[in-house]
């Protein structure tokens, strides 16, 4: 058994943002096992300070193009709470639809384009265009439809346009929604079932690794919590979102431009697997059947299964989108203008489940409706400590294997979290100095 | 005009559809300029006047105006001299014999040849300006009896950039032509006149009332040539000049080439100088 190991993956590929994997073992002692975040910080707080409430969501959605919708919706919720802006039921339904679209597209992208190449032993999705054209085309079709939900409802899937404080600047037409609905039923459902089949055949490539972990997500009594809910921890139970700071506890570590988090233990996990563990009872049958087929069980503590949990939840997003469209159309689309008359100026918190986990935005507005303080806590930042802990547990378990194998296992581990490094770095909490 | 809500369109035409014509000869003149011989389907005549231009189209690249460089007296095909400066001309530069280009035209008013008949013709051409002027030069040569003297002043930046070198020799040797050529910067091999084109003008022996002048060259050239001509005593009403603007249609619709009230593609490109003088945006 080798007792020395030195792994450095510079700018890990197929993840969003810039990170290095560093593992260092000397004479059997693990000195370092961590994900170093080297993404350049962008200092969003400098941009937010003093900006009008109209602009807060426009700016924060630029934290990350991958999660732009999640940031935008979370930002809007925080702003609305801070300014006392009520939104209509139609607005909430349209936002839920948007979140489904974004989650669906993100999960499909991750499973097919970023994770699948590992299962198939290739370096990227591009070789698959030649070797598995049907699979690639299916992935593109699913992604297109998911993005079209964003394009139709929010004007653009990346950096959405229409969602603004108090509502939407444009309401989709009935015709547009019916077309999305038709495609969900006629195209998405068969493609989803085929995806589950494909994955079933590959499931054995998923490493078997378990480490007991605290899982945190939102939880709601009404539905599979994405748009809102309480904070729910497998260790600590349910907590009001107002206490989000106590449920994150950010701290700075020298090897990362992003801050780390912890609650009951040295680390916790957020994301699809956390949602599954906390909320699987709220999933629709399509998703539960997929979970059965893919061997995903409640209380799963294998981080590599996060990709599977994403695929399972994608089925829920697709089917629940149909249900939401039906409700919108049954109620009749109303050409509402956004409600932008503040009733107070104070502090508001938004918490939303975005593809990579629970996201928090908090803003304080001054009496002119300008941002006086802002704080955002990003899912990937919350996962970083957990990734390091996983690595520390994993490396000794697989130390017998070749360095190449170990490196691949570590890369796959990080990718399974589907980290969004841009997010984790770009938005940091800040108390403005006056 | 106001009482007809329905307009008869019997006489209206397809203005924007090109005719596909073949490149039947390619002669590289310098590193940047190439002479193309273009043959219309069935060898049809273009039917142009000296000074007129055509819109050339290359699909995917767009269209650009080019002067017809051959004289209408030379039948069966026509020629264009093209300088490689950008998108469309780059692609033209790579084209092969036999390939097809789209052609619309001829457009523009051309040289008012009648005004030059029986007169001394002085042509002042700078750089690429010789390309359109060559049409007039050869027209005069082919109808030599209709005109009196033919005086050509041609300037290029260097001897390497002289166009139509074979023809320049012919003109120089032709007793019916008074040919003057100059280069701004001559190479060591250059034995001819050196200096900008205006330096040729003072030495000309002109019969003032009898002389009609045609000027074509880069925008900067006009002002200085005009000064030189006037100090030589050439009357403004005896000067004609050819202008260039960006054009999208060539038929007086798109508005791009408009100078005050004048459309270069309709009222030009050849202008009577007194008409231009009133147009502040022209020169």
């Amino acid at each position: 058994m080798s007792t020395d190991l030195d792994i450095k993956v510079h700018h890990l590929t197929r993840v969003e943002g810039h990170g290095n994997i560093v593992v260092n073992m000397k004479q059997g002692v693990l000195e370092k096992a961590r994900l170093e975040i080297v993404e350049a910080p962008r200092y969003f707080e400098a941009m937010l300070k003093g900006r009008s409430f109209h602009e807060a969501a426009i700016i924060t959605s630029r934290i990350c193009g991958i999660c732009s919708l999640g940031h935008q919706i979370t930002s809007l919720k925080a702003t609305e709470q801070a300014l006392g802006l009520e939104v209509s039921e139609q607005t909430v339904l349209l936002r839920k639809l948007l979140i489904h679209g974004a989650t669906l597209q993100s999960n499909v992208l991750h499973a097919y384009f970023l994770a699948a190449p590992d299962f198939l032993g290739v370096g990227s999705v591009f070789p698959l265009v030649g070797s598995h054209p049907e699979i690639v085309k299916r992935a593109l079709r699913m992604k297109r439809l998911a993005n079209d939900i964003g394009d139709v409802v929010s004007g653009r899937a990346v950096h959405p346009i229409t969602p603004v404080p108090g509502g939407f600047t444009r309401i989709p037409t009935e015709k547009e929604l019916l077309e999305i609905r038709r495609r969900l039923i006629e195209d998405m459902v068969p493609d989803y079932l085929a995806t589950v089949d494909t994955l079933q055949a590959l499931a054995e490539a998923i490493p078997d690794f378990t480490r007991e972990t605290e899982y945190i997500s939102l939880r709601s009594d009404h539905d599979y919590a994405l748009y809102d809910g309480d904070i729910c921890s497998t260790d600590a139970g349910r907590v009001d979102t107002a206490d989000y700071l106590g449920m994150t506890n950010e701290f700075i570590v020298p090897h990362s431009t992003s801050k780390h988090c912890k609650v009951s233990r040295s680390s916790y996990m957020v994301g699809a697997l956390a949602r599954w563990n906390n909320n699987h009872d709220k999933l629709c049958d399509t998703a539960l059947n997929a979970a059965g087929a893919l061997g995903l069980e409640p209380n799963c503590h294998n981080p590599y299964m996060n990709t599977i949990a994403q695929v399972v939840e994608a089925g829920h997003c697709a089917m629940d989108s149909v249900a939401i469209i039906d409700r919108l159309l049954d109620d009749g689309l109303k050409n509402e203008r956004p409600n932008q008359e503040p009733t107070r100026y104070g502090t508001g918190i938004g918490a939303t489940e975005v593809p990579r986990g629970v996201l928090y935005h908090e803003y304080t507005y001054d009496r002119q409706g300008r941002v006086a303080a802002a704080n955002c806590i990003i899912p990937t930042g919350q996962n970083l400590a957990n990734i390091d802990d996983d690595m520390k547990a994993l490396v000794p378990e697989i130390i017998d294997r070749s360095k190449q194998d170990i490196t691949l296992m570590l890369e796959m581990l990080v990718r399974a979290y589907d980290p969004c490094i841009s997010c984790s770095v770009h938005m940091l909490d800040v108390q403005f100095k006056e | 005009m106001t009482n007809a809500s329905r307009t008869p369109s019997a006489e209206s035409r397809d203005l924007y559809l090109p005719v596909m014509a073949a490149i039947t000869d390619i002669r590289k003149m310098t590193e940047f300029e190439t002479l193309y011989e273009i043959t219309l389907p069935g060898g049809a005549e273009l039917g142009h006047q000296p000074g007129q231009f055509v819109e050339v189209s290359l699909f995917g690249m767009g269209e650009a105006p080019f002067s017809v460089s051959s004289s209408p007296t030379r039948k069966g095909s026509f020629e264009m001299g093209v300088r490689r400066v950008g998108m469309l001309t780059d692609v033209m530069d790579r084209m092969q014999l036999g390939e097809k280009i789209g052609v619309r035209g001829p457009f523009g008013n051309g040289v008012p040849v009648e005004k030059f008949k029986g007169k001394d013709v002085l042509i002042v051409a700078g750089g690429i300006g010789l390309v359109p002027m060559r049409s007039m030069i050869n027209y005069v040569l082919d109808n030599r009896g209709d005109f009196d003297r033919l005086i050509i002043c041609y300037g290029a930046r260097s001897d390497g950039e002289l166009l139509f070198t074979d023809e320049l020799k012919m003109w120089a040797d032709d007793p019916r032509v008074e040919f003057h050529v100059t280069v701004d910067h001559g190479s060591t091999a250059w034995t001819g006149h050196t200096g900008v084109i205006t330096t040729l003008i003072p030495g000309l022996d002109l019969d003032m009332p009898q002389t009609r002048v045609l000027v074509c060259g880069p925008p900067v050239m006009y002002r200085f040539v005009l000064l030189a001509l006037r100090s030589k005593g050439v009357a403004e009403e005896n000067i004609y000049m050819s202008l260039e603007r960006r054009m999208k249609c060539g038929v007086g619709k798109c508005g791009h080439c408009q100078i005050n009230s004048s459309y270069v593609c309709q009222d030009g490109p050849v202008y009577h100088y007194p008409d231009l003088k009133g147009l502040q945006e022209a020169l």
Binding site: - | T2, A4, S5, R13, G60, E63, K248, Q258
Partner: protein
């Protein structure tokens, strides 16, 4: 000419009646406070009392973007695009907009008659409606009254009870045939006045413009103007265009299209190495206004502005062509007439 009364309650029926004959285009609400011509689907959605539409009916004869031809890069061949005449009724057109169509007719007919425009245009029938001048209309100053019915096939004049309908052409007569209405014998109330005016006629304007090339108003306006081109693009008598080829992502073909362009846009006169012939915003503004009152007008004897007020209303910087012209007239009177 027989005058009929089209009561308010029967307008919808009248629209349906027209729809039975032909496709009908009419003003509809657009956005929060605007109007736009659109094909009529639901007759109740037609709005006849409107101030002005975003675009005039020009958009149907000279579409904002029009494919001229499509090409195949593999064979180097092209196919011309089909030009479909607008065999339709344009309902609810204001007098100035029809006059603008006549001006375009002139532009597209003179010298080189253009098939694309003229073919689209030839079958169109127009049902006009009078308008109530708002703060931006000034068509009265360029000889176009709010109830000017010249050139229309049918004209509707607003009165309290509805509209007085008159058919002016055989085509117009055919359009109303079979739609029974009572005759109208009452008086015609005095038309509402304009709130904006240019105080002199075109022949004097021609003289004024002769002397206004170097007026300070061009520079002063240029300080406010942001050069967005809006005034060109909303103008019913602007017709300049750009032509560009687009290639499909498959790189085996594409199309050539023309798109509305405008002389206020800096790149409009850009040539070699980025040189712009009308680089100064002031020179571009001058060119625009001269095109409306001088260049074409000197050839035709008519102003080429129809006083619709669109350019002023749509300008975010609030630049008014009426103020510019009146300023020129004042300066001319002061500097030229008084000193003479």
């Amino acid at each position: 000419m027989v005058q009929y009364l089209l009561e308010d309650s029967r307008v919808v029926d009248f629209v349906s009646h027209l729809q039975a004959c032909k496709t009908v285009y009419a003003p509809h609400r657009k956005g929060t406070s605007s109007f736009a011509f659109a094909p009529v689907d639901d007759p109740t959605a037609v709005v006849l009392d409107y101030n002005r539409t975003l675009h005039s009916v020009k958009k149907y004869f000279l579409p904002p973007t029009e494919t001229l031809l499509s090409f195949d890069l593999r064979t180097n061949e092209f196919t011309e695009s089909e030009i479909v005449p607008c065999d339709a009724v344009f309902l609810g057109v204001h007098s100035y907009d029809l006059r603008a169509v006549h001006k375009l007719d002139h532009n597209f007919r003179q010298e080189n008659p253009e098939k694309n425009y003229l073919r689209r245009r030839e079958e169109a029938a127009f049902v006009g409606v009078s308008f109530e001048p708002d703060a931006f209309h000034f068509s009265g100053s360029v000889g176009i009254g709010s109830r000017d019915s010249s050139g229309f096939d049918v004209f509707l004049t607003r009165i309290a009870a509805g509209y007085i309908l008159t058919a002016h052409t055989p085509v117009g007569q055919e359009l109303v045939d079979g739609f029974v209405m009572p005759e109208y014998t009452g008086d015609l109330p005095v038309p509402p006045g304009f709130k904006q005016h240019i105080y002199v006629p075109q022949d004097k304007l021609s003289e004024v413009f002769e002397h206004s090339y170097r007026n300070d108003v061009w520079l002063e306006t240029a300080e406010k103007c942001v050069g967005c081109g809006t005034c060109n693009l909303v103008c019913p008598t602007c017709y300049c265009f750009n032509v560009e080829d687009t290639v499909e992502i498959t790189i085996d073909g594409g199309s050539r299209a023309r798109t509305w362009d405008g002389c206020m846009l800096r790149s409009f006169t850009e040539v070699a190495g980025g040189e712009v012939f009308r680089e100064e915003s002031a020179a571009r503004q001058r060119h625009r206004v001269y095109r409306k009152f001088k260049y074409i007008s000197d050839r035709t004897g008519e102003p080429w502005c129809v006083g619709c007020g669109r350019c002023n209303q749509a300008c975010t910087a609030g630049i008014s062509i009426v103020s510019i012209v009146n300023r020129l007239v004042n300066d001319y009177d002061r500097e030229v007439v008084e000193t003479a």
